[in-house]
Amino acid sequence: MPRINWKIWRWYLLLIFIFMTTILWSLIWVKKPTNYLQISYLDIGQGDAILIDTPHHRQLLIDTGPNRRLLTSLSSVLPFFDRSLDLALITHQDLDHRGGLKDLIKNYQVDYEVASDKNVALPDLAFIPIYRGTKIDLGDGVIFEILSPSAREVENLASNDGSVTGILSYGQTKFLFTADLPSSRERYLVNQFGSKLKVDVLKVSHHGSKGSSDLGFLQVVKPTYAVISAGQNNRYGHPTTETLDRIKSVGAEILRTDQSGTIQFRTDGQELSFSSAK
């Protein structure tokens, strides 16, 4: 047995300890609470994926996009050793909204899957059903309230009609998420909720297709920003010119993931700012 040279090993051990300490501190630094809520409309091609990150880093992902591309864009907005999400919300069963879920749970620890439609539940995930009236309390005063569908309707609604729709509020700022909701359901929401739908940022329904974004609905919502999540040169021609014109007519600034890449909003409950990847 060769004798161990403790003089050298001392230095190695010291180095290893410094290294570990650095990593632990950086973990703490990154997980340090902030005072703002961050919402990232991820650039995942044609589909939806939106990450909500609260001041204490409770993370809710709304939809997962069509495929693995989610993972790349997710890691561009999360620190590299943050490998867990609290909730994954699947709005409805279309593949461009839930196709990436399987890839997500292989790479990230996801605590719960939440959805209205039980058919989208993955067997390996704890599932919580959510309906109109459900309020998800994400801490720090961040509340996600589900507006549609109700528990009674859910069985009878066609896929897009049953899209989970909800309002996220933090202080004075509000965000509306509509998944693939068609115009008829938008009008229904206006009837049911009226001025409660007024928000700062609207996730434009169904990637800006012409069958969504009803003018009456837009006039009630009256968003400052309208975010469109669509793929570059997608084969459906989303978003359509008619829809873009309708959105412009209510005075909203349009932001598109196909043009700007991932779009990030930041708010402390009062002020709202955004940045984009491109």
Binding site: I23, G45, N67, R68, L71, R83, K102, N107
Partner: protein
């Protein structure tokens, strides 16, 4: 002795040429017979003029040529009308791991009572593994050739034919009737868990990249990033190549050497066989593996000429087993040429490089990189119509990082199988290096003239390019051989 080697060399070249020609044009009996008698006549003349060895060499070349013709005449031509059935239900076995597309997964399927395979596209929600027995119903169709982004026609039929795939099937319904558990299932499971451990420890795209470096795992890398790797001439590090294999071989030998050289050799060979099989690269990985090992042997023996001949022989045997490889498998062609470059390159470049670079590590890297590049460049340009102008600096900066990354990746995956938390701590420096690599790739790909398009050019140009390269290689290696002998 040298004469026998030359005869051997010319016959092998003849066989390859014969097969290459008949892959494109059918050769009739009359031409074959004419060449045969011409060969005989030359052979006879060779005896008559005892001094001229060229006559023998020419007759060896012709002999090889005819042998090549004969081999390809045995090829059964593929009957694509069998794909025109339309809707069909088939029972059979999965013959590959599935590769993930954006919306579909693909796998090779061997239907019962079919001698050829079928490439099946299925939705991504179900998972299948090698050996599963399935009943698939869907639409059967012919593969059709298409235009690439560079405006060239891509011969999809022949590309699939090299793997004996005849038809495409878009599956509408799939039913698993038997779990394909066999001897290799545990190894596949190990590989899946290994890759999973890596993807839990590293974010995307770094985790897929590391999976590719270690195991040549094909699916999952972003299309844009993949294109960038091709653009800077680095796509070879993403697939299982002779290079990865030689590193694994060295590791296996190192571990097992205490049991004596014979046992160590058996252990290494078995280990390599399992590694190559499990990597999922199929026959292509096996071929790359064999060539990689030859290259390593050649380098360690210091006998480039013999190694070159062995390489040629190996390639010829592979092509005799599957003649379609020669013309339709770019991976095979590049593997062969790159290995030739690694074998012959050092003698060509070392004298010049050593004058400038004193560091052994860098000069070694530079000469093998240069060798591989010089031998593959013209062929790549011919086959793809694209030439990467930044390949040299990109390779020099990135390739030296590949082998430490491979080791680190193996260690990270193994650690991750034990504890994902420990792996996460260990992943930090690896993440840094991988990000650096990706940064370099993007950096070089963004250069205005990173890649230029040449379009289609004649095969004759290729001969004009390769002529001087081969002449240079032979002369340089002769010189270094003489030098070696003189030193002895």
């Amino acid at each position: 002795m040298i004469f026998a080697r030359h005869i051997f060399f010319f016959s092998l070249t003849g066989i390859l040429f014969g097969l290459a020609v008949t892959n494109w044009h059918s050769v009739n009996l009359a031409l074959g017979l004419t060449l045969f008698f011409l060969g005989l006549a030359l052979f006879g003349l060779g005896f008559y003029y005892q001094k001229s060895k060229w006559l023998f060499l020419l007759s060896a070349l012709l002999g090889g040529l005819i042998f090549g013709f004969w081999r390809s005449s045995l090829l059964v031509s593929l009957d694509y009308t069998r794909c025109d059935i339309g809707e069909i239900t088939l029972q059979g076995q999965v013959k590959s791991e599935s590769t993930d597309g954006d919306f579909y997964q693909r796998l090779n399927f061997q239907a019962d009572q079919w001698s050829e395979k079928i490439l099946v596209s299925l939705p991504r929600d179900q998972e299948f593994k090698y050996g599963d027995r399935l009943i698939i119903s869907g639409l059967l169709r012919r593969p059709s050739n298409f235009m690439t982004d560079q405006g060239r026609e891509f011969d999809y039929q022949r590309y699939l034919a090299k793997d004996n795939v005849l038809c495409l099937l878009t599956a509408k319904q799939v039913q698993k009737i038997d779990d394909g558990n066999n001897l290799v299932t545990p190894f596949f499971k190990l590989k899946t868990n290994f890759l999973l451990a890596i993807s839990r420890a590293l974010p995307e795209p770094e985790s897929t990249l590391l999976g590719g470096l270690v195991l040549g795992a094909k699916s999952g890398l972003d299309q844009d990033l993949k294109q960038a790797y091709t653009k800077v001439g680095l796509s070879h590090i993403l697939v299982l190549s002779g290079y990865n294999i030689s590193l694994v071989a060295a590791a296996l030998t190192g571990v097992s050497l205490i049991f004596g050289s014979v046992l160590s050799f058996i252990f290494t060979t078995l280990g390599l066989a399992i590694f190559v099989f499990v990597s999922g690269g199929g026959a292509a990985a096996v071929r790359a593996g064999i060539m990689g090992v030859i290259a390593v042997l050649a380098r360690s023996l210091g006998r480039p000429n013999k190694a070159g001949l062995v390489l040629l022989l190996t390639a010829t045997i592979m092509v005799l087993l599957n003649p379609r490889l020669l013309n339709f498998d770019l991976g095979f062609q590049l593997s062969f040429l790159a290995t030739m470059g690694i074998v012959y390159g050092p003698a060509m470049f070392k004298p010049r490089v050593e004058r400038i670079l004193k560091s052994n590590f860098w000069s070694e890297t530079l000469v093998t990189t240069l060798g591989a590049l010089v031998f593959t460049w013209p062929w790549l340009a011919y086959a793809t119509g694209q030439v990467s102008l930044v390949a040299l600096p990109a390779n020099l900066l990135v390739v030296p990082l590949v082998s430490p990354l491979m080791w680190a990746g193996l260690a990270l995956g193994a650690l991750g199988l034990v504890s994902s938390f420990l792996a996460l701590l260990f992943a930090w420096p690896i993440h840094l290096v991988l990000s650096l690599q990706i940064y370099l790739v993007w950096f070089f790909a963004a250069w205005p003239l990173a890649e230029i398009s040449l379009g289609q050019f004649s095969f004759l140009w290729l001969l004009i390019f390769y002529g001087p390269i081969i002449y240079w290689a032979i002369r340089a290696n002769k010189k270094s051989n003489q030098l070696a002998r003189a030193i002895k």
